[in-house]
């Protein structure tokens, strides 16, 4: 097992102390970056092979380059700290335990893409993370790491923190921009993409907390070092949120070559004696189920794809054999029906229909044709929804049906 990188400081330093952060490598990457040209920094991120940790796995360097090339100003850097995917809590652990790392990474990103202002959008229920970040930003500003002429250079950059207000969909990047702009958080049609027209209509780089947390380490140790960790398609360390029926639920750092079994039985201590794995919901409510037989699958994108499971946000929810799985599916269905923003009909109607049908199936009182109807709705939502919420809302439920994890009651 490798020593933790992203979690290296978490729990080992006082997260409110700049001196502690500096003593553990803090802000050295920024100093290094300010001596290079912005293009070199973008090149380094591209060469690292880093892919977005917010769920979509988009190549980070490609995004940085697209924003760097935009001639329009101002440009913005946004940190997506809205973390609301069920079963996901890694970003909270980073924000609470190592807030200066996000600040440092955002300044580096701003320098690389030519942005002058950054926003951190923090989930509304993350009070401690918000307080720690606010403190980190003001302490960093006083110390000259933020503001005008950062560390005596020509580069100026500042950060504003915004609180979310309890809407899952606001984690979707364009909905998040709408929210910062003071509107209801409804996703926009894409294109145009954020790299061209993002926050306030300006070129915008948006990255997840964990994605950003990788950046200072890539700068310090180099892209080649980063690529040695993980798999060719998914280099670098990854955070996994292991929850549910394990002895030690928590955030674990590992390369994606680790298997579900090693993560669950090794790192998270396995299930309490007498309990067995019934199913594993991987990737959040927007994810899909793995079966106990699939536990030797590594968490690489390719291996997961072969079993029809997305890595998503890195949520690994372990469900033991005592839990009625229909109750789990009810919660997933209710979640999407509640969180659909209502902008497009396939999702607005589909998530409600899906919830109604799942409720009937969970009660053991389906109507004839309910399962076929569920599949129809799923296909329509996947094809015709504007954003990822509607596009993924049926995945977990379909995967439970397809893998035979739940039995379908027969209509009366």
């Amino acid at each position: 097992m490798i020593a933790p990188i992203l979690l290296r400081r978490v729990g080992h330093i006082d997260p409110e102390s700049l001196a502690d952060y500096e003593a553990y490598e803090g802000f050295r990457a920024l100093r290094q970056v300010l001596m290079r040209r912005p293009e070199q920094v973008v090149e380094m991120v591209k060469a690292s092979g880093l892919r977005g940790r917010g769920g979509a796995l988009f190549p980070t360097g490609v995004k940085w380059e697209a924003v760097a090339r935009q001639p329009r100003r101002p440009k913005y850097v946004v940190c997506n700290a809205d973390e609301s995917e069920p079963g996901t809590f890694k970003d909270r652990v980073l924000l609470e335990g190592d807030p200066f790392a996000v600040v440092e990474a955002m300044v580096i990103a701003g320098y690389a893409v030519g942005a002058s202002k950054g926003y951190i959008y923090v989930r509304g229920e993350y009070h401690r993370a918000y307080t720690r970040l606010s403190r980190a930003v003001s302490v960093a500003r006083e110390a000259g790491y933020l503001g005008t002429h950062i560390l005596g250079s020509d580069f100026s950059f500042d950060i504003e923190i915004r609180r979310g207000a309890g809407a899952y969909v606001c984690g979707e990047e364009t909905a998040l921009f709408e929210s910062i702009e003071g509107k209801r958080g409804m996703p926009r049609q894409k294109p145009p993409f954020p790299t061209e027209q993002g926050l306030f209509g300006q070129p915008t780089l948006i990255n997840n907390v964990e994605t950003l947390a990788c950046i200072p380490w890539i700068v310090r140790s180099g892209p080649a070092w980063f690529r040695e960790i993980g798999s060719p398609a998914m280099p670098g360390p990854k955070l996994f949120c292991v929850s549910g029926a394990v002895q030690r639920p928590g955030v674990y750092e590992a390369p994606v070559t680790i298997t579900l079994r090693e993560l669950i039985e090794g790192m998270a201590g396995g299930l309490p004696s007498g309990q067995e794995v019934q199913a594993i919901l991987v990737g959040g409510a927007a994810g899909a189920f793995a079966t106990p037989e699939e536990m030797d699958t590594p968490l690489t994108p390719e291996a997961l794809q072969a079993i029809g499971v997305p890595l998503g946000s890195g949520a690994i929810m372990v469900i033991d054999h005592r839990v009625p799985l229909w109750e789990v599916l009810r919660r997933v269905a209710r979640f999407f029906a509640h969180e659909s923003c209502g902008k497009c009909y396939p999702c607005q109607l589909g998530t409600y229909r899906q919830w109604e049908i799942v409720e009937r199936l969970a009660r053991g009182e389906p109507l004839p044709g309910d399962v076929e109807r569920l599949r129809d709705i799923a296909a329509t939502m996947a094809d015709a929804s504007i954003c990822g919420l509607g596009q993924t809302a049926a995945n977990a439920i379909l995967s439970a049906l397809e893998k035979g994890l739940v039995s379908v009651p027969t209509p009366a």
């Binding site: 909270r92 509304g124 639920p249």
Partner: protein, 179 residues
Amino acid sequence: MHSPQPERWQQVDEIIQRWATHGRSGLLPCLLEVQDITGYLSPELCAHIARHLRVPEADVYGLISFYSLLYDRPVGRVVLRVCDDVPCYVRGSSELLNALQEALGLEPNKTTADGAITLEVHPCLGRCERAPFVLINDDEIGPARAEDVLARVQAHLQSAPSTLSERAEDPAATEEGTG
């Protein structure tokens, strides 16, 4: 009827003034910060904020109805958010929720008759390693047992200052303070 608390209105006006220069982009943080003090956003407060941030009043209500953490009617001084999402459910959130409902005599999303406690059932609160998890205002409890939650609720009720919203004051009366 209690006596008004001028220092709280002053806090509200300071918040509004700070965000007024941001216009519409200041609306959501302004509403959240004001609500931190007032407990909920009364029609008078909404009108007041709309005027100072120069946005239509309808847009203020649009935000309140969209965002689940914004309230346009009074909520309890103590808001209990019980997570009932998958990881918490696997670790006993249903039993916890039932016990709390019974002890408090409350259905989900209802407030006790004395306006003290609101009970909400919540999707994942992002603390699944502490399942089953409960937020009491912004105080975290997990793994939560019903007895501990109830004791902590009592402690909050004794210490939590009553909010401005209980004091039926008209914000227009402090207009001169907002400049």
